[in-house]
Amino acid sequence: MKRALPAALLALLVLTGWELLVRLFGVPAFLLPGPSDIGEAFWESRDLLLRHAWPTAGEALLGFLVAAATGALSGLLINRSALAERSLYPWLVVSQTLPTVAIAPILVTWLGYGQLPKVLVVTLFCFFPITVATVDGLRATDPDLVRLMRSFGATRRRIFFMVEAPGALPFLFGGVRLAVTYCVIGAVVGEWVGSSEGLGFLMIQDKAQFEIPRLFAEITLLSVMGVSLFLLVALAQRLAAPWTLKRDRAL
């Protein structure tokens, strides 16, 4: 709690300054609403906002999970097979230079206005960091450790599950933490291109109708969503791989 204090104070300072400036100079709310305007807009439209928050959260989470599964699997494949590494890896890197934002409209054209194209956009955003983290994590296995396991007489399967996979977890979580911050952005981008629900859809509408305070409320809500997912991953890491976080003091 004490560690969060400076950040909380800074936020309070910035919000107060923002509010004061907006009021002092009489900035119209459709240009830059003050924090109180945004809070008010959020409260008035809370049902609408929450109703549209669920689809966005669902797309973000689903796309992220698909990316986590496929990313870890392809990372494993690249690590296990030299052929896969030489043939697949360069193209995965190239694929990252394609702007996902530009691919989104094509996906919508192909797959329609439903949930699927949004989930795919999220997956495209999140897939790469997880793949790279898996490859790096497995590659970082101490060769001496594998040698030790071999000297015991361990099978390749046991070496993987007892040494390589747990050893890759810190790297994997690094990639997952990065990916989870992308997933909400991915969902919104997918919704901007074409949708009938979700916070991204609402943002487009509110921008057109000059509902700027509510637009800010939507952005705030998206940010809260992203931070919550990030904290969820941090919690998962604490439970699944506590040794990656703390070093116990020497006895």
């Binding site: 000297s151 007489g153 361990a154 747990p166 977890l169 040794w243």
Partner: protein, 227 residues
Amino acid sequence: MDLVVEPGTFLALIGPSGAGKSTLLGLLAGLETPDEGVVEKDGVPLARPGLVAYMPQSDLLLPWRNVVANVSLGLEATGTPRRAARREAIAALERFGLEEFARVPPAALSGGMRSRVALLRTALLGRDTLLLDEPFGALDALTRRDLQGWLLGVRDELAATIVLVTHDVDEALLLADRVVVLSPRPARVALDLPVDLKRPRMMEIETTEEFARLKERLLEALGVSKP
């Protein structure tokens, strides 16, 4: 190179850096295959790993396993069910007086304690031959003395036959029944020295005249000039 180790012997291999001591141990462990010649134990070729127990230079404790789970790693790696392996590990820790560290993560252990745990992990495999590759090489001088004394005390419980690679002449004489000095590459046996010092040995033996005489012969074979 031709070398026969009698069962029940504690053999120390000593030689200059790069003589291939660790490679030789890798061959004995079945981790490497010889370009020519044979490596066998009781007439069975050591062509695959898993026939003898091997402890590498660094302790290689897994940070995600506490001490018990690290000690049981070898057993679990060879297919012993987890619960049975952990039970054996706890029993071993008790036998060696280390039970108070059972639930501690390795990051909280001192260097000497890490070495003990690593040695126990290897010994728990219950194989009759134990290969130690400079097990105390990374420790500071005092801790190393401590561990050598400990090893002297628990030697019989570890394994029947022990092959120790070291570059420490005192360590070799203190622990071993027989010291083999390797020449620089290509490695040959430069000296095969039986250590007929009485057992049980104490650290004090290092100040005796016999010890000094043996040490002199070893240093000579190693080509280290006398002071």
